[in-house]
Symmetry: C2
Subunit: 223 residues, 2 copies
């Protein structure tokens, strides 16, 4: 059995959970808060980051959400998520990096810091200037998603791919932490509603991070 | 012909150059400074980042160093760099992420900011406190490389892989911008000397970023 070290609002763990869900790989979850910097966790992962996926009997420890997704892409045939020609696959990986790096740095990370870490760890009020800037950058990213879904069936092309799961994982954390403002983003909103109603998404939506309540539309697959 | 948009001190462009060098893929270089935020460059890459690899006749634009390296891993058989079993490949990708993300954020990025951007763009003196902190973190990363090469022939296992090229690309930028302090890191130093003397490394060592001179040992393959 695979064991996933994660916490509910880690977007990279969400990406892995969605990919494993689509591929039908079962796993158990263990709670890990990287900010607690447990020695045992650093012994596992010198980078001290979630997600980590561990298989005791096989003696395998997988670290980094993209390394994990590539591993299951190579070992599980069901539901290819990095698919098509080499150029298509490069386009999927470009978008994965765009969301995991740029969207994360611009939007998800400031929200996690202001609305999760400050509440649970630092016991300080959020900085509304930083929140406003993150929301402004969120609109720019949603503009880009609008453009993609205007030109393609899914973000990277004709089929659902890891690009969609990665973007949705990041967006879902933002949505939990304050709600995404979809005004002016009909295209993105329609795409997100479709992703959100997939069975792989269900377990994420019902789960809570203690001490932080999501807005009411968060788990509503029609909202 | 492939065209690589890059600047000499971009560690991700260096990683791509090393990988293409090992694989024997030829390319021409075009200079791109992401901080100038040229409209034409953003039209190419909405993330506005180097490296970008473009092939006009084929109509292919590859973005993100890892997406680029995976593309050539899939399309060029020579010198596999993400090699072995699925678990070995996951270990290579874990280390690539460790150097491209953690080492970059801890060491390369502060050095690029303090010693390149402040000199060339902001015209401000470097912050010696930030430089000291980056050097302290560099020692921690070198400790980890010492441990790896104590236990393995190359960073990710028995063979040269993209993990070695990625780590060397980051380290070479740090070395250019002030010199790596190898004291207490015999293992890492020996490993870096070997990488530095490979033919794929030669073009990097002879190239200069205008306005910034590297220390004398930078291009010396015996130093
Ligand atoms: N590229 C990594 C990023 C992982 C990451 O940044 N995880 C965050 C939690 S959402 C973390 O553990 N941060 C703690 C730290 O960076 O020290 C991945 O895709 O797995
Ligand atoms: N994950 C990307 C990172 C690329 C990156 O951060 N490039 C830097 C130059 S070294 C850049 O263009 N930065 C400008 C910016 O982030 O706006 C890759 O591997 O290609």
């Amino acid at each position: 059995m695979w064991h996933l070290y994660q916490f509910p609002l880690c977007p990279f763990s969400r990406k892995v959970r969605l990919a494993l869900g689509e591929k039908g790989v079962s796993f158990e979850m263990l709670r890990e808060h990287p900010w607690e910097a447990r020695d045992e966790f650093f012994a596992f992962n010198p980078a001290g980051r979630t997600p980590v996926l561990h298989h005791g009997p096989k003696g395998i420890t997988l670290i980094d959400s993209q390394a994990i997704c590539e591993y299951f892409e190579e070992t599980v045939d069901k539901s290819p998520l990095i698919l098509g020609t080499a150029a298509n696959r490069a386009e999927i990986r470009r978008l994965v990096a765009l969301f995991d790096e740029n969207f994360f740095a611009d939007v998800t990370l400031p929200l996690l810091h202001e609305r999760m870490k400050k509440r649970l760890v630092l016991r300080a009020p959020p900085d509304s200037k930083l929140l406003r800037q993150a929301m402004r950058l969120a609109h720019e990213h949603l503009d880009y998603i609008d453009w993609l879904v205007d030109n393609r069936r899914w973000l990277a092309g004709a089929q659902l791919s890891l690009a969609d799961l990665t973007a949705a994982a990041q967006i879902s954390v933002v949505d939990y932490l304050g709600g995404v403002d979809w005004s002016g983003h009909e295209g993105s909103h329609g795409w997100y509603r479709v992703i959100k109603s997939r069975p792989s998404f269900r377990p994420l939506l019902s789960e809570k991070m203690e001490g932080i309540a999501p807005p009411s539309q968060y788990a509503d697959v029609n909202a």
